[in-house]
Symmetry: C2
Subunit: 189 residues, 2 copies
């Protein structure tokens, strides 16, 4: 293992991981997750996770933004990787902070890029992929709180023009609550 130690570098004001051998500072900053509520005739594309965390639970096509990508490019790549779906992006539905795990999530509204019947299939990180009408979304088996937030943001505007993006809900303004299994189905208020 590398021999990192935690201390405040000169000129900084918070602790960083610093290599005891060479002095390399391993700056750790929040990561960006990009994802999309992909909609076809008011049905939403969701993926059942094949990987931990939350294997077997339903999520939106989303994942870490990579170096060299724009937000829109990252969101489109994730839709292809997780749902084999070619999408076009409408605009931003939500910008969320998940301070507990050091994430910022930017969630878009999008559509299938190709005309005709929506083309999608489970990618390697998905057990299953499906289009759900709002009332059949598997509310009891949602992977993460931000999936609720993004779905609610979509439901608030549906196909109307996008406005100010949704932020964290008042019930979790800093994004520090874990997902709790809900005894009754339905979106988080």
């Amino acid at each position: 293992m590398p021999s990192f130690e935690r201390r405040i570098p000169e000129g900084d004001d918070r602790e960083r991981m610093i290599c005891a051998d060479c002095g390399h500072i391993d700056y750790q900053n929040p990561k960006v997750v990009v994802g999309t509520v992909v909609v076809s005739e008011n049905k939403i594309l969701m993926c059942r996770r094949a990987i931990e965390p939350r294997r077997g639970f339903w999520t939106l096509p989303a994942g870490y933004l990579e170096l060299g990508e724009t937000l829109e490019e990252g969101a489109a790549r994730e839709a292809m990787e997780e749902a084999t779906a070619r999408i076009s992006i409408d605009g931003i539905l939500g910008v969320f902070s998940v301070a507990r795990i050091g994430q910022v999530q930017v969630i878009f509204r999008g559509r299938f890029a190709d005309p005709g019947a929506p083309a999608f299939a489970a990618g390697i990180e998905s057990l299953d992929v499906a289009l759900f009408p709002w009332e059949h979304i598997p509310w009891d088996d949602i992977a993460f709180p931000t999936v609720h937030w993004a779905l609610n943001a979509w439901n608030a505007c549906r196909s109307a023009p996008l406005g100010l993006p949704a932020g964290n809900p008042a019930s979790d303004p800093r994004g520090v609550h874990r997902m709790v299994p809900s005894p009754s189905a339905g979106p988080v208020p």
Copy 2:
């Protein structure tokens, strides 16, 4: 120096920096910059940079989001660090991708939190801090393209309700252009 090598980890699809000694994977993802167009009576708070890159040029109070912070908390911290200003956040003005340098920027519109005359002063990373009316913004000495984009986004709405955040301009949809010294003053169209 640590002996990192660049290769594709098992199960991944792109090269990462991997420690040749211990196998530690150093995932490098884009970083989030948060900042604010802080406005007082239609004048905008700007900071002249005391540090590289772009020392001596004017920017908005902005910087890297830290682990454990929400976007709003990070933006408020940067306003305090760079301009000794206590601010309140209105909402999101712009969400920009700067693919060239692996950044996502979330820029808010904000106000001074305290009533009375705006209180601000140069923080340690600023040579100078000032409130500029739009027509006196130092257009020839702006530090970064995204400062132009954010200022233009503010000018497009001023004190009107915020709507869909601005994205990258059509002239640089991926955020890959460097700042070019402009021979004539004025905002980037």
